[in-house]
Structure formats: C-alpha cells, structure tokens
Symmetry: C2
Subunit: 206 residues, 2 copies
C-alpha cells in the first residue's frame, strides 16, 4: 500500500482528488490544507506527498519557508518521502521552487487523473516522473531574469512597502533600492514599477 | 437525471470533482475550462452550471464579460439553467460578481463534497442554496469601499497602466485620475498606490 498525503487549500477539491486517487487498490490517500501539513506529515509518515504549487496559499507558504519544513517533517528521520508537485505550466516560479525542494515528480495541473496516479506509483518507487506537458515550463523556470536580491526587493514592493521601508528592511540606502527597482523594471520589460510587479506575479516569480 | 456542467481551469481537479459528483445516481456531470464553457453550455443545455469563482481564470473571464455570456448560453432560449458558484469566503469580490450574475447557489470551496451535492439538487429544483459558512463573506461583499469608477481606475492601474494611459483610456484628465488614485489609497487604508492594488487584489475587488 502507498501511503499518500495531498496538500491543497480547498477542502472541496482536495476531498474530490483524494477520493479519486484513493479508489486505486494500492493507494491510501489522506488530504489536508497547508496549515495542517506539517503535523499531518509527522503523524502519517507518507511515502508520497502531493502538493498543489499553484495557489496563493502555496506561494505564501513558500515565502514563509514552510515548504522545506514540510518536506523534512514528511521524510522524518528515515528521509524517504518522495515529493510530487502539481504545477501550472504557465507559472515557472512555483516550478523552480519545487525543483529547489528536490521534488521527484512533476505533473501538469491540466493532466488527466490517470497520469497523476501513474506518477504517484513512480515516485513511491523513488523514480523521477516529469510530465511531458511541462518541458516548456522547465525551460522558462531556468530563465527568470532577476537576481535573488532583485526578487527580494520586488517582493517587498509587491507587499506595498515604500522605498524607504524597503531600504530599512534590507539595510540598504534608498538610492540603492531605486537602482534595483529601475533595473527590475528594465529587465522585466515593464512600463513602470507597478507593471513590473504585475508581470512578475503573472510569471509566478514573487 | 440532473445534467450538470462544471467550469474549472485545472483539468486534473475538474475531472476529480466531476467524477465524485457524477458517482451520485441522479447527476450526470460534464466538465470543461473557461475557454470551452460557452460552446459546451450551448450543446449540453445543463440544468445546473457549477463555476469555481476563485481563480485567476475566473477573474479574467469576469473582466472580459464572459460570465454573463456563459450563463446566457447555458440557459438557452428556455432560460432555465441554475448557476451554482464555488466561492472562497475570504474573497468578497467574486462573491459579489456571482450575486450580480444571479447565482442561485453558493457553496464554500472548503465545504465537504456532500454539501455541494445537496446544493446541486436544490438548484436543480430552482431553490436557493447559501452555504452557512459564507455569511461573513456576504457581509464583506456588501462593503467594498470603492465606487464602480474607482474600481475601473484601480483595475487599469493594476494592469500596469500609467496615469496618462489611464486618463486616455477613460477619457478623463490626468488630474482627475490622480484624485481618484488618492481617494482609492485613502479609502482602502493603503500606504501608497501599489499597496492599494495589493489590498484590492487580496480582497478580490479587482
């Protein structure tokens, strides 16, 4: 039996997906939201964790560093839980984040359920699974034009911080922040700062 | 038999939800994405349409006026399709939009599947169904602090338009747009224009 934990924000959708997956004779599926993910992972010790990366909740969990802690909780001391992510092929940011979290399986959110079930069996055997539909997304994920520092500045700006506030948070001068914001606007091909935030959010970079 | 059409962007999640709903003996469930919603509605003539209102795709469809056209296509000449929406109780914007589109049923996205199934049967009988969990969301929806005009200005600003561009689009002076943006910032309790956009997007107003 494959013990599986599915993390998704909507109770309705995660119940439905868990019930379809759990109908397979060799899979036992539990499901929860991000807020319960670590405690459920610790008590269940799943062999496979399926995480929907394409939601504001997943983005927020990533900003708070919850992904790594969750994967560590799921793996326990034995360290043998395989991470399988559901990704939107049009948002390279979450795909990159999943890659950094050493996900073993990658399934397009537009795939038929049968493909997810196949991927679950592969990841349970510690084999890599990459959905064909995601090839382009992987290429895009490698091409985020901003540096980590620029992404940090942009992230604070997107949260509504002013230039002096960003400068204080990052211990930099306001002039330096202005330079970063100008570089970000240029590199994203944006018309202005608000446009740069919009583009980066659409692409899933921040 | 209740003929039902479910509109949701993710192929994986809509298949799973349709399969859980379609397992009921009295419901026949089909599912599609927004891009196919109108043509599927026309050919299927469903008695109930279930729409997930809480996604960037649904927001985009709303901005393009697709909701009204979809409901009209589903109703056909007889005009008897009931709209049932899945809503996130923390985002009053889509809830308000669903109300404007004369939705008959409102189910929280965090509800158990059985509650959605009950709501489907009620809406098929032309009865109203409002999930208890959404009471607070409805109150919030009634309290969007911005006028239609202000929401229009904010929507363009959130798309990255500059003040002169917004002025040209709305046939107003740049001074007037500046006044609108100042009023928006004040009314949303924001620190600045970017913060006002962020707050309004979080609340689902734009």
């Amino acid at each position: 039996m494959i013990r599986l934990l599915l993390v998704h924000e909507s109770g309705l959708l995660r119940s439905a997906l868990a019930s379809v997956i759990g109908a397979e004779p060799d899979i036992e599926a539990a499901a929860c939201a991000w807020r319960d993910a670590r405690s459920r992972a610790r008590s269940l010790e799943p062999q496979v964790c399926v995480v929907d990366t394409d939601s504001p909740a997943a983005d927020k969990a990533a900003r708070k560093g919850e992904w790594g802690k969750f994967v560590a909780s799921a793996s326990g001391e034995g360290g043998d839980c395989g991470l399988l992510v559901l990704v939107n092929s049009e948002r390279p940011g979450p795909l990159r984040r999943a890659h950094e979290a050493r996900a073993l399986g990658y399934v397009d959110k537009d795939a038929p359920p049968q493909r997810l079930i196949e991927a679950i069996r592969r990841v349970a055997r510690k084999e890599r699974y990459v959905d064909d539909a995601l090839g382009y997304g992987f290429l895009q994920a490698a091409k985020i034009p901003l540096t980590e520092r620029e992404l940090g500045v942009l992230s604070l700006a997107a949260d509504g911080a002013s230039i002096p506030e960003i400068a204080r948070t990052l211990h930099l001068s306001t002039g330096t922040i202005r330079n970063y914001l100008a570089a970000i606007t240029r590199k994203t091909g944006a018309r202005n700062r608000v446009d740069a935030i919009r583009i980066s959010q659409c692409e899933g970079w921040v």
